[in-house]
C-alpha cells in the first residue's frame, strides 16, 4: 500500500476512481467490469455521477444499486433476468460499457487474452478470445492492466482478441462503426487514444508515479503530451464509499500494491 504524503489515498484507490471515470456520461447502459478496481469503479460511478448505470450480479441478473464486493446473493435487489444468451443481445445492441483485462495490450489498442506466442502452437495458452472480438466492434470497451510492464504493454500483441484502432480501420466501416477503446487504466496511469492516428497516449499518471516510470514500463513508443496531469483525487464521498461501504476489507490494496 502506497500512501501519498498528504492524503493517505492509496494507489489502488486512484485506480478505482480512474475506472469509475470510464463510465461517465453514458446514461443507461449495462456496466461490465472485470478485476477489483473496475468492479469498484463501476459501483462508484453508479453511486455518484452515473446513477442510471445498470450493474450485474456477475451471474445472470441485473441488480439495483451498487452492492459491496462479495455481497451475499440474498442481499441483492434483482432488477432483471440477464442470462448469457440475453447478454449477447445487449452486446450487439451497443447498450454496454465494459472494462476487460488484458494480458497484453499494444500501441493501437489491440488486446490479447488468447495465447502468448504463435496461436498455432502457443508458448502459453490463455483463456481464449472470449467475447473480446465482438465486444470491441459493438460497444465502448476499456482495459484494466494491474501489472504495467514491458510484457503487458507490448509493441504488438501476439493474438488480436480485442480489436484496436488500426485493425478496426483496416477491416472497414462495419468494424469501426461502433468501435471505441475509451481508456486503458493501469497501476501506473491512465491512457487514451486521443491522437491523430489513434495511437496510445499517456492521459494521466497516478500520484507517486513519474512519466519516466511509465516509459520504462512500456514496451513501445507512447505518446506523451508536454503536460501530463495527475489522475484526479478521489472525492471525500468516493473515499468513504470505497473504504466503508464497497470494500471495507481492502481487497483493492491486494490487487494493486504500488
Amino acid at each position: 500500500m502506497t500512501d501519498t504524503a498528504d492524503t493517505g489515498v492509496t494507489r489502488a484507490e486512484y485506480c478505482a476512481v480512474a475506472c469509475a471515470e470510464v463510465f461517465r456520461g453514458d446514461g443507461e447502459v449495462m456496466a461490465s467490469a472485470f478485476g477489483t478496481a473496475p468492479a469498484l469503479g463501476a459501483r462508484l460511478a453508479r453511486l455518484t455521477f452515473a446513477p442510471d448505470l445498470v450493474l450485474t450480479d456477475g451471474d445472470a441478473a441485473l441488480v439495483d444499486g451498487a452492492p459491496p464486493l462479495g455481497a451475499r446473493p440474498s442481499s441483492l435487489v434483482l432488477e432483471s433476468h440477464m442470462p448469457y444468451r440475453r447478454v449477447f443481445d445487449v452486446v450487439w445492441s451497443g447498450r454496454r460499457n465494459l472494462i476487460m483485462m488484458a494480458s497484453q495490450i499494444d500501441r493501437t489498442g489491440n488486446q490479447n487474452i488468447s495465447a502468448i506466442g504463435p496461436w498455432a502452437r502457443p508458448v502459453a495458452q490463455l483463456v481464449g478470445v472470449r467475447g473480446a472480438p465482438g465486444n470491441t466492434v459493438n460497444h465502448t470497451t476499456s482495459y484494466w492492466v494491474p501489472n504495467h510492464s514491458p510484457r503487458s504493454f507490448v509493441d504488438q500483441v501476439d493474438v488480436v482478441s480485442g480489436v484496436g484502432y488500426a485493425r478496426a480501420a483496416a477491416a472497414g466501416p462495419s468494424a469501426t462503426r461502433y468501435h471505441q477503446i475509451r481508456f486503458v487504466v493501469s497501476n501506473l496511469g491512465v491512457f487514451d487514444f486521443a491522437t491523430p492516428d489513434h495511437v496510445m497516449r499517456l492521459a494521466s499518471v497516478h500520484p507517486g508515479v513519474t512519466v519516466d516510470d511509465v516509459l520504462a514500463a512500456t514496451g513501445f513508443a507512447l505518446v506523451v503530451p508536454d503536460d501530463v496531469p495527475d489522475t484526479r483525487m478521489p472525492t471525500a464521498e468516493e473515499l468513504d464509499l470505497l473504504r466503508n461501504v464497497l470494500d471495507p476489507r481492502s481487497s483493492r490494496d491486494r490487487e494493486v500494491t504500488s
Partner: protein, 296 residues
C-alpha cells in the same frame, strides 16, 4: 409419450470415434460430467469437441480423446484456465478452432435453424479471422452495404447437456439462473442426450419450478439419463455448487504426472457410482485435514 430413459453405457455406445460432439453448460457450470466420464472410460478417440469449455474439455484432452476443440474459451471460472487444455494446446496435441463466444452462439443457432451461416459484426478486425482462414465475410444485399462475418453453422453429430430435472419423455428443466445454450446444442445435433439430476413424473415439473425453468422440450431430445451428481465437480445450482476443493485437487494433480496417475486411478478408472463415492470420501478427507489444521 415415448420413454426415452437410457444409461450412460448406451450413450457411449451410440457415439463413434471421429464424431463432432457438442457439450452443454458454460465454463465450470452445469457440465454433463457423468457423460464426459463415461467417454473417458470408453475406447472412443478423435472427437471434435464443441464447447463453452470447462473441465469437460480438459479431461477429454488429458485422456487423448480429442482431435479438435471448437471454443471461445476454456475456463474453470474460479481458476482462469484448465491445465490439461493448456498442455494440449502448447504441445500441439489438438487442433483448434477459436472463435468469439457470440460467434459460437450464432454457429449453434444457424445449425439449429438449418441454415448455413448467420451474419455478425463480431470477429471483424480480430485474429479470429486470421487463425481460422476458412471463415468468410458476407456483404449485405441491402443499401447499407455492410460487410459482416458469416459465422458458419456448427453442426453436431451428437450433443449432451445436463439439467436439474427431466421427465422420462425428455422434457428438461433448468432450475438455476442461466439455461446457457443447452437448447441450441441439442437443436444443432443429430443425436441428442440429456442427463439429469433426477427424472420426475411430468406433472412434478411444475412443482419443481415455474414454466420458464422448463426450457428444454422433448422435441429436442432423443434420450434421457438419470445421473445424480452428474455435473460434479462443476456447479449445478440449486442442487449443488461447484466443488471448489475438488476442482483445486484436479488442477494440482494435473501439474505432476505421478499425481495425475493417482488421481486418474482413484476417480476416473472407476464407474460413475465409484466416482461419486470416491469424491465424497475425498471431501471428507479435505474437511478432516482442514479441521486438524485449524485445531493445531
Amino acid at each position: 409419450m415415448a420413454d426415452k430413459r437410457t444409461t450412460l453405457d448406451e450413450f457411449v455406445g451410440e457415439l463413434k470415434s471421429g464424431m463432432t460432439l457438442g457439450i452443454g453448460g458454460w465454463g465450470s457450470r452445469r457440465k454433463p460430467m457423468a457423460a464426459v466420464r463415461a467417454i473417458l472410460r470408453s475406447d472412443l478417440t478423435g472427437l471434435t469437441v464443441v464447447s463453452y469449455g470447462g473441465p469437460d474439455v480438459g479431461l477429454l484432452c488429458a485422456a487423448g480423446k480429442v482431435a479438435k476443440v471448437v471454443y471461445g474459451f476454456v475456463t474453470l471460472d474460479s481458476i482462469p484456465t484448465d491445465p490439461h487444455f493448456k498442455a494440449a494446446r502448447q504441445s500441439g496435441a489438438v487442433e483448434a478452432m477459436e472463435v468469439d463466444e457470440g460467434m459460437f452462439y450464432l454457429g449453434l443457432l444457424a445449425a439449429s435453424q438449418r441454415i448455413p451461416f448467420l451474419p455478425t459484426r463480431s470477429g471483424l478486425g480480430s485474429d479470429v479471422l486470421v487463425v481460422n482462414p476458412t471463415l468468410r465475410t458476407v456483404r449485405s444485399p441491402y443499401d447499407d452495404d455492410e460487410e459482416l462475418v458469416a459465422m458458419p453453422a456448427l453442426r453436431l453429430d451428437a450433443a449432451v447437456v445436463h439439467v436439474n430435472r427431466a421427465d422420462a419423455a425428455g422434457s428438461g428443466q433448468v432450475l438455476g439462473p442461466d439455461p446457457f445454450f443447452d437448447e441450441l446444442f441439442l437443436g444443432a445435433a443429430d443425436r441428442r442426450f440429456v442427463t439429469t439430476e433426477r427424472i420426475v413424473a411430468t406433472e412434478q415439473l411444475a412443482e419443481e419450478g415455474p414454466i420458464q425453468t422448463m426450457c428444454i422440450s422433448r422435441l429436442l431430445t432423443d434420450a434421457v439419463i438419470e445421473t445424480p451428481g452428474g455435473a460434479h465437480f462443476t456447479a449445478c445450482v440449486p442442487d449443488y455448487g461447484r466443488d471448489e476443493g475438488f476442482q483445486k485437487e484436479y488442477v494440482a494433480a494435473a501439474g505432476d504426472p505421478d499425481a495425475w496417475a493417482a488421481f486418474r486411478e482413484r476417480f476416473l478408472a472407476v464407474d460413475e457410482d465409484g466416482y461419486q463415492a470416491a469424491t465424497r470420501e475425498a471431501a471428507d478427507e479435505r474437511a478432516a485435514a482442514k479441521a486438524a489444521k485449524e485445531g493445531a
